[in-house]
């Protein structure tokens, strides 16, 4: 059974207490608060992800592995990601953002940037963020992980068995 959120009722003196009201107001709302809409992707792919894009593009533009959809009740949504990256040039940039229903949450150069201290996997570097998206109406919303770099190529290790870099990034969203 999918539990939905019911706007808390303002009770008045002498009002009859019905089982249906108690179930909706207490049981279901508590269940909803314990397990709000949530979606998680932990990566364990056949190959790592790579990009040379200098503008924000989807990290997984092929089968939307990193596109998460939840149906919210109008609350804010927590978005989190962590992953390990390397770049083919020293000081290569790793810029991350999240597209929410087609609009970038950060915009400009994204939500966060990591600069890789040296070229190659010897300087593999963890980048993570937790962000909040407010102002969403109740309904279905889609969150996509986006990235850009400064040219050459940026790699996200995705549990593909790369020796010494078989890391498993997570991307998740949760209504709060």
């Amino acid at each position: 059974m999918t539990v939905t959120w019911t706007t808390p009722r303002t009770w008045v003196t002498g009002e009859a207490l019905l089982a249906s009201d108690l179930n909706a107001q207490v049981r279901d709302n508590l269940a909803y608060l314990k397990e709000p809409p949530f979606s998680l992707r932990q990566m364990n792919e056949a190959a790592d992800y790579v990009t040379s894009a200098t503008g924000m593009v989807e990290v997984d533009g092929s089968n939307s592995e990193l596109s998460l959809t939840i149906t919210t009740s109008g609350g804010a949504v927590l978005v989190a990601f962590f992953g390990t990256f390397s770049h083919t040039t020293q000081y290569g940039r790793c810029q991350l953002d999240v597209e929410v229903d087609g609009v970038l949450l950060g915009g400009d150069n994204g939500l966060i940037q990591g600069r890789l201290p040296a070229a190659g996997s010897a300087s593999a570097f963890a980048v993570s963020f937790t962000a909040v998206k407010t102002g969403l109406a109740a309904g279905s919303h889609t969150f996509k992980l986006m990235w850009a770099t400064s040219g050459a190529s940026l790699t996200l290790y995705a549990g593909a068995g790369t020796s010494g870099f078989d890391h498993h990034p997570q991307f998740w969203v949760r209504e709060i």
Binding site: V50, S52, A53, T54, G55, V57, G61, S62, A152, S153
Partner: protein, 120 residues
Amino acid sequence: MRQLRFERPPLNLSALDEQLRAELGAAYAGCSLTPALLIVHLHAGGEDDAEKRARRVLREHDPDRLSAAQTRQQQQAQALAAARAEAGRAPDPADYADERLAALVRRVNWLAAEVEALRG
């Protein structure tokens, strides 16, 4: 932004990126590899034949050919390896009668050991 999608072929992404950038100029926004696909990103409103030219670059792409940056990195690595080989064994402070020179040699050897440790 427009996207061209191809099954992930064997490729040298740095070299392909360099070739696409040279061929397409401002119309080119980069390329990405997912586990399944190669995606070429083109700016919207780019030249009409950009897609055709991108496909030609991909057809002609040789994954064994290095990009200019990769060639430079390879040359730097070779030069460094040659310099290391030429440097040979560490100088022995006992070979220097002048205590100031011997102290300098000990210090150089210590710094070389620190650098070696940092390189891992």
